[in-house]
């Protein structure tokens, strides 16, 4: 006989909401877990779902960054008294195994979007005194944690008198929220100006379905923040970047209080800091437009944040001078000149490279900058061998955003597809400065008008 599916409550952190579905979907597919929704979530921070086994819930939580807690749901109602009624009728055979005399327990009260004093919380716990618990209370290290949750919506400054929803259940697993703190950029040895924050890095590693023993590449590695997350989940990591000084930790320091970089700042030092050095393979100084990876060399995943040409330059090696040669005497210390690479070409090369060098079924996860008002899915980079499986927006300013694109490789490219022409992608950079220029001009004109009016007003007042 197969065990019946049980209902679970997944409680999420109310941050990067749009990335939730993409992360959970990726993890379900990574672990080959099936999950059913009992109703489709909208914007609330919780999902009510069903799993075939508790092991599945634990697996999911063991990798999720957006999940806070998972409960086996014993009751969910709109009103408190109804929840109590429900719990009183909850089948004893499902509840009893956790309420035995040899099981210590505690009851926690969580209130979402409304604050209560400790006294009020204790009073709330008292209302569950009818539960047939037999074991001792242990607040420090209980065998069983029961949780009562009151949900007051998501508008913090004006919560309603009574909760919208109330939940009661048994704690099963917690997500990886603490890992975000552990990998914080504030305490990381080597960071750059555009280091990715750990939460987004971990989300990327999850969407790339990185698992133990995978070979992962970041071709625009910078200070290696994506590699930290990839290695944390078991990936063996490679990085390449055109910036020699960055890879050697010789750029100007990014921390305001730091006058110069320490001698041993590097991506490798970061790996060491988090005890991940054994998963560090290598970093290379390399121009992405000139590939040195061998033909049949395959990566399990590619995670990257290419430069958008705003804070980090989009450059490749080259010169506009004709018939230019580096003279023999300058050769040993020559630093190659760079020309504009262009966003369109970077993404074109990135997808072609991925189609060629990912294993079939492998994923490439990358950020793509957009103008929010012009955004249109048809304008995204694409490749016939890669399927877009997730596309989530992170807003940056009123007008700009970046989207986290996740592609999965369907098959190896044909000879034709290796040399195919790609559609042009709008250059974010060009437009970025045009828009800025306009608004700056408009702003100045407006300010000038206001000054002029004030001046005239002043003159009139005098008269």
């Amino acid at each position: 006989m197969t065990k019946p599916w049980r209902t679970y409550l997944l409680w999420f952190a109310q941050e990067h909401v749009e990335f939730r579905v993409a992360e959970i979907d990726s993890l379900l597919s990574l672990f080959n877990i099936e999950m059913r929704f009992t109703h489709k979530p909208v914007t609330e921070p919780y999902w009510i779902v069903e799993f075939a086994s508790e092991r599945d819930v634990q697996l999911l939580a063991s990798r999720s960054v957006s999940l806070r807690n998972c409960l086996e749901l014993w009751g969910h109602e709109k009103e408190v008294w109804k929840l109590h009624e429900k719990l009183k009728c909850y089948p004893r055979n499902l509840m009893d195994p956790y309420l035995q005399p040899n099981k210590s327990f505690k009851i926690e009260v969580e209130t979402f979007c409304k604050h209560f004093t400790q006294k009020e919380k204790v009073d709330k716990i008292e209302t569950f005194s009818y539960l047939p618990v037999q074991g001792p209370v242990d607040l420090r290290n209980p065998d069983v944690i029961l949780q009562y949750i009151e949900y007051y919506g998501t508008v913090a400054n004006n919560p309603p008198e009574l909760p919208y929803d109330v939940f009661f259940g048994r704690w099963v697993a917690s997500g990886l929220r603490q890992l975000i703190k552990k990998l914080s950029l504030k305490t990381r040895k080597f960071i750059g100006n555009t280091s990715m924050d750990p939460q987004l890095s971990l989300l990327m590693a999850n969407q790339a379905k990185i698992k133990n023993g995978d070979i992962v590449l970041d071709p625009f590695v910078g200070s290696g923040s994506l590699l930290v997350a990839a290695a944390e989940f078991g990936g063996y990591v490679f990085g390449t970047d055109i910036d020699y000084l960055m890879l050697h930790g010789r750029t100007r320091p990014s921390r305001i209080a730091q006058k110069k970089r320490e001698k041993d700042e590097s991506i490798r030092a970061n790996m060491k800091q988090y005890n991940l050095e054994h998963r560090y393979l290598d970093v290379l100084v390399n121009d992405f437009a000139m590939q040195f990876w061998r033909e049949g060399c395959k990566f399990d995943a590619i995670v990257t944040d290419p430069p958008y040409g705003i804070r980090e330059a989009t450059e490749r090696v080259g010169t506009s001078k004709e018939n230019y040669t580096v003279s023999e005497e300058h050769l040993p210390t020559h630093i190659p000149a760079k020309i504009e690479y262009g966003i369109s070409n970077i993404y074109k090369d990135l997808l072609s490279f991925s189609a060629k060098h990912l294993k079939v079924g492998g994923r490439v996860v990358c950020w793509f900058p957009v103008f929010r008002q012009d955004y249109n899915e048809d304008g995204l980079p694409s490749h016939p061998c890669l399927k877009l499986v997730a596309n989530c927006e992170q807003t940056l300013t009123k007008v700009t955003a970046r989207r986290l694109l996740t592609f999965e490789k369907l098959r190896d490219p044909t000879e034709q597809e290796l040399n195919m022409d790609h559609k042009e992608i709008t250059d974010f950079r060009e437009k970025y400065f045009v828009v800025r220029e306009e608004t700056r001009k408009e702003r100045r004109m407006k300010e000038a008008r206001v000054r002029e009016e004030n001046r005239l007003q002043h003159i009139r007042d005098k008269v």
Binding site: V285, K298, T319, P336
Partner: protein
């Protein structure tokens, strides 16, 4: 730079180079340090390697130890063998030296463990 990386690099993208593989190695400073052993990872890597290239590279920098010239059959379960492969792939690190294109002789310096594969603007 590790020998695993060396196994995956070619200078084929350069003008006039048809194969560019394997790159030669001139090592002036090699460091050997202990790295956690993950037999599954090594077993998964072996089929992706060019074994002869790995063998010759290890020999050329004097780190061969007793790595067999030919790939053992049934290596997945041979812990001793996997350990030897682990050693040459991940524990041997070329800190300073250079990689050399086998066709043009172009040298790519390795400083502080990081190879510099940048071409000059007159080479692209």
């Amino acid at each position: 730079m590790k020998l695993l990386t060396h196994n995956m690099l070619t200078s084929k993208c350069m003008k006039g180079v048809s194969v560019g593989y394997p790159l030669g190695i001139n090592a002036s400073d090699v460091r050997v340090s202990e790295v956690d052993f993950n037999p599954d990872f090594i077993a998964r890597m072996i089929p992706k390697l060019d074994w002869a290239v790995l063998y010759n590279a290890a020999e050329s920098i004097g780190q061969l130890e007793d790595l067999p010239k030919d790939l053992a059959n049934n290596y997945e379960n041979d812990q001793e063998f996997l350990k030897k492969v682990h050693h040459v792939l991940l524990e041997v690190d070329i800190i300073n030296g250079e990689l050399v294109c086998p066709e043009t002789g172009r040298k790519f310096p390795i400083n502080n463990g990081i190879p510099n594969m940048l071409l000059n603007e007159d080479e692209v």
